[in-house]
Symmetry: C2
Subunit: 189 residues, 2 copies
């Protein structure tokens, strides 16, 4: 079964971008680059929500450079066609789609997203890992890393690595949804 990783660089107060989408606060260092290079070597598929796609497309002026190298899916109920020759639109249920994708042979699957799309995948129970590059800053406001999946998600800390310039790489494994659910919620059987 392939591993689905929700990965992001974030502020300590849990934002992946400022309110206007800007990421001028991101710190790029050689040690993080090495980690990312290793990560992408083991990843062949990328999932994104429509808003993240819009942002990525704007960044590359719609050219989508590099999308051909990695299987890319954009999840949207408002788009009606593939937004780019190298990018597939998915309109069906995200959880079911990702579950089927995981069962197919392949490398790791990466979720590039703000909190909303990630929350829908947490709710569907298809995310296996959370990998964060926590930056030493409180932004105060912005696009959230996490939004409410409607259920408690238990984790296991698998890595904690201080990087240059006060960044911190954290990796968590998502625990199977079993023992603890949010109060007042039915337990899954």
């Amino acid at each position: 079964m392939r591993t689905v990783t929700y990965g992001a660089a974030c502020s300590l107060d849990g934002f992946i971008a400022r309110p206007d989408g800007s990421v001028d606060w991101l710190i790029f260092t050689a040690d993080v680059s090495a980690v990312m290079t290793a990560f992408w070597k083991d990843t062949d598929t990328m999932l994104m929500g429509r808003k993240t796609w819009d942002f990525a497309a704007a960044q590359t002026k719609g050219g989508g450079t590099g999308f051909g190298k990695i299987e890319t899916y954009v999840f949207s109920r408002t788009l009606t066609a593939d937004p780019h020759p190298d990018v597939r639109l998915v309109r069906e249920d995200a959880g079911a789609f990702v579950r089927a994708l995981k069962a197919r042979p392949g490398k790791g699957i990466c979720v590039m997203s703000g909190g909303n799309f990630a929350a829908s995948l947490f709710a569907a129970g298809v995310i296996d890992e959370v990998r964060l590059n926590v930056h030493p800053v409180l932004l105060g406001a912005g696009i959230p890393l996490f939004t409410d999946p409607g259920t408690q998600v238990n984790l296991t800390l698998t890595e904690c690595r201080p990087m240059k310039r006060d960044c911190l790489l954290l990796s968590y494994r998502v625990a199977p949804p079993k023992t603890r659910r949010r109060r007042g919620q039915a337990t899954e059987h």
Copy 2:
């Protein structure tokens, strides 16, 4: 000058309690207890917002056991008198009050708070340290650890220590408010 520490146990998605205030998800281990004991030995003053006071008072059924051992201040514009014989009400500007307190001789000062009161102290530039015990869970919703102080707060990572049961102690030093302000905001002179 005394050190003001904003300290909390929190979920990875930045909550200090569930929406109803409950903290049944907190993990108590001997290694964290040892860290807390050392911390309280160097701390003689506690600051809290009114909501945190209400919660603490309810927990101790108004008895306030232990408040006599530590100088305790509750900040509120709605309270009109000290809420407990061992607890002082502060109605004046929190930033100015804490600045004066820091200049007096004494040990460390601890901020026990949800994000709102802490944000007012971040905005006033009187918090020196952030110390978190990050728990391996996404709660999805609850009382936030951080709310928007209206300005960017830059930090320096001073400690990162994995604890038992996948908890993670993080300590940050607050950088002086100088170089980077949020976009569109005036720079302080």
